[in-house]
Amino acid sequence: MPSTLLNPATKVFAVVAGLGIAIGLGFEIAVGESSGTVLLVAQGLVAAGVAVAVAALAGRDAAPAVPADAPPPSASASTPGVPAQGSMFPGLCAMGLGLGAVGAATGAVIMILALVVTGVGAAGWFGQSWREHPSWTPRVRERVRYRLLVPSALPFAMLALAASIAIGVSRILLTVPEKAAVGVALVLAVSLLVAFFVLASRPGLGRSALTALVVMAVLSVGGAGIAGATRGERRIEKVPGGPGTVRITARNIKFDLTEMTLARGEVVVFRNRDTGTFHNVAFYAQTPDGGQGRPLFNGQPIDRGQITYHPPPPPAGTYLFACDFHANMRGTLIVSG
């Protein structure tokens, strides 16, 4: 009778483990290329781990003993268990990761959307499996709703509502011209006053009407806010362009300057036109052979837009400036007294 101590799957993985480690060591001796050795030995060790897991958890693989005088086999000896219950949330999570792949190629907005979709999918997935647990009775559901969900979710919902309105309105006000912004703010304030006056004077207003009102308000503010955010802010502060400012732009993984002259106390206005790709401006000391020495200042990386750096003034001399992300983006920095 074959041994039932280790099931065949364990033996297969154990053999793979032994072979992986042996071939890895042989590879090291014959080829001497350490990365290959690391991979082969790792594969052996992982297979060994799987073998142990399978031996411990897959259970015995013994067939029940059938006596010689046993009756013929039965056509319906057992049932196969219950089928799986479906869920739409795994699909939603997959869509979220797909959006993540798109976001990784394009930019932060889609990445945030991907995180939200994946988060909603994961939370829904967990919530569904939670509700399917036998302990989830109507009584427990009511208790959880009143003791946990309402007290914790309500403040979050209110915070999210307030934040989305504030952010939406601010996007609108930052997009429209300066004078129009005052008008928009006044119209919004008056509309709010009127709306709340109507609400307060008509206590009989139904729940669905209230919900519809809130949804419409959030959608219109949110929609206008997204449109404003897409269009971009108007120029609010006049970017200093006179003495005391050095302007440098990154475009197509290149700086527009190969030499930068900076006086003590001057600020650096850095503009990144490679939307979606991180760049920064960093200052390095120069080694005697002209190479990159110790860092003096590492500006905050941005993947779009503009940022103003206030670098601590190094002593007068010649240095290097570079982007920390791209080896080819570098130039000479001359600091004057």
Partner: protein, 196 residues
Amino acid sequence: MTATTAATPALPSGAPSRPRNVATLAVLILALGGMMAFAALIAAYRALAHYQSLPPKGVKLDNYLGVMTTFTLVLSAPLVEWAWSAVRRDERRQAIAALGLTIGMGIAFVDLDWYLVSRLGFGVATPYGTVFYAMVILAGINAGVGILFLLGALLRVLGGQASGSEPEPVRVVGWYWEFVVVAWVLVALTLYPIVK
């Protein structure tokens, strides 16, 4: 027919009992497979070290940060085992405390990981930088996913869905967290001259 069936008790009959440890075995196999992704990055580092001395000239890694980050995560390993042991013994409060502490350690690790990345004086754009950032970022994402799983386990314990009679949710998450810890330790041993 009934009589003959009764005479052969060794034969299988009836509905199959619900198999145990299904999710545990799955998470172990997938986590061990996941180790191969880290092995690929470690192999890339070894390949680089074959042609140049690492860390390269001009890069001085802060060993203190590497050691503290590793300590933080290694300390969380016994905590998650404590949670598992407490759940098995139906010590609900202990399990909640242990899981809460593990989550705290996990968040501390992600924070340290983030801090470590933000303090690096070199960018992605060198071969060394590419491998370094890949390893550290992947370990951070791995820990982030682990923290979400730990939160799920904590909710299960709070809601009475993980207990002495049903401890698997915590065991599954525990194994995943051990994978997070082992993966980081291997990354740290590769990147930081801790042993030296």
